[in-house]
Symmetry: C2
DNA sequence: GTGCGGCCTCCCGCTACGTGAGGGTCAACC
DNA sequence: GGTTGACCCTCACGTAGCGGGAGGCCGCAC
């Protein structure tokens, strides 16, 4: 059982070197190795490769692909949905370009020569869109989200450990304040909220108060996040959310 | 008049560095320079840039773009037509991919896990197409045509001169044979046809007999080629075509 | 005349591999 | 059991298409 590099390469239509490369950079390592050092790919590896190739085809840098595939709570279906969405956007853009080319052909056959602006405005119009709204277009997310991905994608294992440790300390402190009966809009809670915000800014992205509020709301709304807090103390998630809001309100007044 | 690098960059939505690069590799050099060495781009340069960006967007390597833009007898309209064609193919491919993703989603929600072949067959099916028929897809041409482009793109002016001289000699010899009353399926004519084929193989691409037959047919069908032969002697084009066919028939029997 | 933005030319760095070199591995076939 | 040929391994250097600075000249305003 399992597949050799050559088999996988033929199946997927890539070169062996490409698979070696993906192994090197940790994007797609074989599940096992034989005693003699041969790579053995499992079915799960193949599925991963499928997604890798898809995102690559859509122009994503490999580093980013690694991040989005490793992102917790993302399963096959969400990836497929996202890929479908991306494909549709892409098709739309190409259609616009085709229409622009048609216009250019008309203009050309009619002997009209385009002004320099028209030249790129008419069918190079997809470029500004690509720059200003690229992050948006790709992720339906925010610029901060992108920034986060990039930064965190470059973190070493050590960085992750320290990041996690810091996060754990803050959570612990919140739990203490909560169980200790301190109000969510009190000094201590707000202090912790501010610390939390600083923590995010340091490690992930420029966390404004507005974004921070959104995060707080998300914590209570999204079970995956709540799962990180509730074990400490029932109701802690809501407490943290309230503290964040109180802190943001104070800071912006 | 004319545009500076910065202006062109903003117009076209690329960086100054990119324009510098295109200048370096000779893909897109400014029509002029100011006394102080500043680049000055003309309207013609802008049009060229427009096409460059388009082909680039469609995934063509810059070297190839240079060749197809410099290829004689290609005007704006033919490029626009080609671009439109390429866009449509591209859209078609993306649609296939989208359909494949939909199927994958169905399979996934139904709890069916794909076999390894299906995984890439189902929606990686565009890859064989991309390899085996890429030249076809891109050019509506043959692999030999591609090979030709590559080789001829790397020829120096000297090479071109020798190439042209050789070609002229062969044509001259054909004209002599023709006006001398030698039959198109005679020894001499076939000898010249073989020489012609060797000439192409040496300079352009591996010219099989089948391709050679196609070339002969094209010579009579396409006025641009005929224009090269007819001035030597009226009917020469047809004569050459017949000689080529006779030679090919003999060689393959 | 002194900024300040734009332009110039190196030149090094990055990604996603291509392309050998040099050398083990494995199944088959004699 | 030896040899052959297809396949595998790990370096390690090369390439395309730029990004991004360094160090320095140009040109126009104040």
């Amino acid at each position: 059982m399992g597949y050799s590099v050559g088999q996988v390469a033929r199946l997927a239509g890539v070169t062996v070197r490409t698979l070696h490369h993906y192994d090197e950079i940790g994007l797609m390592s074989p599940g096992q190795r034989t005693a003699s050092g041969y790579r053995r790919y499992t079915d799960a590896d193949l599925e991963r490769l499928q997604h890798v190739l898809f995102y690559r085809e859509l122009g994503f840098p490999l580093e980013e692909i690694a991040v989005i595939l490793d992102e917790p709570g993302s399963d096959t279906l969400t990836h497929l949905k996202r890929q479908h969405e991306l494909l549709n956007r892409r098709i739309g853009r190409l259609r616009e370009m085709a229409a622009a080319v048609e216009r250019a052909m008309e203009a050309n056959t009619m002997g009209i020569s385009l002004t320099p602006e028209e030249r790129f405005e008419i069918f190079g119009d997809f470029r500004p869109e690509e720059h200003e709204a690229e992050a948006e277009e790709r992720w339906g997310g925010t610029e901060a989200f992108e920034q986060s991905r990039r930064r965190m994608g470059k973190m070493t294992k050590d960085d992750w450990a320290r990041f996690a440790a810091e996060a754990a300390r803050t959570t612990e402190a919140f739990a203490e304040a909560f169980t200790g009966g301190l109000p969510a809009d009190g000094e201590r809670a707000m202090e912790l909220a501010e610390e939390h915000r600083a923590h995010i800014t340091r490690w992930c992205y420029d966390c404004t108060y507005e974004i921070h509020r959104g995060l707080g709301d998300m914590y209570v709304a999204d079970a995956r996040f709540a799962a990180n807090y509730e074990p400490h103390a029932a109701g802690l998630t809501q407490y943290i959310r309230d503290a964040i809001h109180a802190n943001a309100d104070r800071a912006e007044s």
